[in-house]
């Protein structure tokens, strides 16, 4: 007896992207990037630990245009993963499963993550 064939995931190359699928993969992508980003926190703490000179080098690195770009992207990734994470927690509680709610919460998460990023950089 042969094992029954298991169902396959949709083939991404012929699958039309939708808000729901794009936000879903973004949750993973930002999650992985944030995990890698924790190594940046580690670097920053060691820059403080090593004294004023190393700390000044780190500050210089972070305030260059490339450093800023990384930090802005990183903060958006954190805010996106956080707001979309709350969306996931609501689903875990059984809330917001109707198609209209899923789209409404999806757009809200995008807007909120952008607003939080703007707020963060306006006080920095």
């Amino acid at each position: 007896m042969t094992a029954p064939t298991k169902p396959l995931s949709p083939h991404l190359s012929i699958y039309r992207p939708q808000l729901t699928s794009v936000l879903s993969i973004l949750h993973r992508t930002t999650g992985v990037l944030l995990a890698i980003g924790t190594l940046l926190v580690c670097y920053w703490l060691f820059a403080v630990l090593s004294g004023p000179e190393t700390f000044a080098t780190a500050q210089q690195l972070f305030s260059s245009w490339f450093g800023k770009l990384i930090l802005i992207g990183w903060s958006w990734a954190a805010f996106y993963h956080l707001s979309n994470g709350i969306r996931h927690l609501c689903w875990d509680l059984g809330l917001g499963f109707e198609l209209r709610s899923v789209y409404w919460s999806g757009y809200s998460v995008l807007v909120i993550s952008l607003l939080l990023t703007l707020a963060l950089w306006s006080i920095s």
């Binding site: 993973r28 999650g31 992985v32 630990l49 004294g51 956080l82």
Partner: protein, 110 residues
């Protein structure tokens, strides 16, 4: 770790990380133009030391659980467990080094 325990821990750490992450990002943003002394003084405040330590432990754990799920989806069998173990070691080492750094800064420098 059982699947149910894994699932629950991922959610519990997520809930704890909501306030901790907002606190950390907005605190660091206000320190963006601060000098060395200001930053090390901030880290040495008892409340900061506590919350920063908690953030590192909980975020590290949450990151490990999430990375494990992603690796289980994309890495196939002969390598899977070794790659998961490697991710665990890297994240664990980063967390331990960060805690060591905070401890040393708080107790008066290297």
């Amino acid at each position: 770790m059982s699947a149910v325990h894994h699932w629950k821990t991922q959610r519990r750490t997520a809930v704890l990380l909501i306030p901790l992450t907002l606190w950390l990002l907005f605190s660091v943003a206000t320190l963006s133009s601060a000098g060395y002394l200001e930053v090390s003084a901030w880290i040495s405040q008892p409340l900061t030391t506590l919350l920063l330590g908690l953030f590192i432990l909980i975020a590290g754990h949450h990151a490990y659980l999430g990375i494990q799920v992603v690796l289980e989806d994309y890495v196939h069998e002969p390598l899977r467990n070794r790659v998961i173990l490697l991710s665990r070691m890297v994240l664990g080492a980063a967390a331990l080094l960060s805690l060591f750094a905070i401890y040393t800064i708080t107790t008066g420098g290297a």
